[in-house]
Point group: C2
Chain length 157, copies 2
DNA sequence: TCCGAATACTTCGAAAACGAATCTTTCTTC
DNA sequence: GAAGAAAGATTCGTTTTCGAAGTATTCGGA
């Protein structure tokens, strides 16, 4: 009926697929997708602050804290207070984490991304462009809503 | 660096935007996006079984149960055992739900979909097509994985 | 130097989401 | 007709996710 409804349905199908994939990865490796994202960010960039991880992964700081809690409980990361700025905490991979990542290096690439690989290059770029366009539109929501509120603020002065 | 990483980042930005929007709607209306989706499905289709709602919304039955629990706690739906097939339960909107939906009819359409409306028709269709293509790729993951397992099954016989 | 603002992280509470297990009811097969 | 399979819904346990509130630390200005 409505193109907007179709968009919402497609988005819902995608988020569901992401969730189901995460659970499949969990059964195979004992780690969820978000946990793997955090570990791979650390592998790629070296030691990081929680706030940096949050920025890289597009997650809130609170979410990162809870993911780090579980990774630490599994002995995959360590937290170490910074000496210069004692508000910050440096997160490092443990030896076990490196082993774990070596054993299962491409878990995130599995599944849908294998399918994605089979596509022509132009189609891959097309899909990426569409996703980034949508992400912009959705991020813009907050920014666009602000001026509407400001009208009220200005009226108050 | 990698186009696959970019895809994952864009997907993460989109799911985050969906979550943030849901929380904003919650503050404005007292209902989250998934709750509104369920209510609007009932408004559009009339009384439904939980399994039907799950199919329409692309959610698991367990998730629907918990959403219905909250809607029922708010007095917005009623559950009624079927007389013909007593395994099934018929979910209906209450009078309050109809009022609530009349007062806030387009909450889901708010935000990003307003932006979406401003786009040219061809771009809207382009974005929809890309999303549906991705949803197919991601749904295909399970289907594609199955035959691989079957090889082992056949070998066992 | 000291006090309030800003920053970094954690804690808390709540919704969402799922699979697996469970319960009830219906259907199928013998 | 009874035993077992199948189907519909719920319950349970877990992770993710967030904002808001709380804590500790640093910074900036008076």
């Amino acid at each position: 009926m409505n193109i907007q409804d179709d968009i919402l349905v497609a988005l819902r199908r995608i988020t569901r697929a992401i969730d189901l994939h995460s659970r499949k990865v969990l059964k195979a490796s004992g780690l969820t997708s978000p946990q793997l994202v955090v570990l791979q960010a650390l592998k790629k960039n070296g030691d990081l602050y929680p706030s940096s991880i949050a920025r890289i992964a597009s997650l809130s700081q609170a979410t990162i804290t809870s993911i780090l809690d579980r990774l630490q409980a599994q002995g995959l990361i360590t937290r170490q207070r910074c000496t210069e700025d004692r508000r910050q905490i440096l997160v490092s991979l443990t030896v076990q984490a490196h082993e774990r990542l070596r054993d299962a290096p491409e878990l995130l690439q599995a599944g849908f991304l294998r399918e994605f690989d089979k596509l022509e290059s132009w189609e891959q770029l097309q899909l990426l462009a569409s996703l980034q366009r949508l992400a912009e539109l959705m991020d813009a929501e907050d920014i666009d809503a602000a001026p509407i509120l400001e009208v009220g603020d200005i009226a108050k002065n």
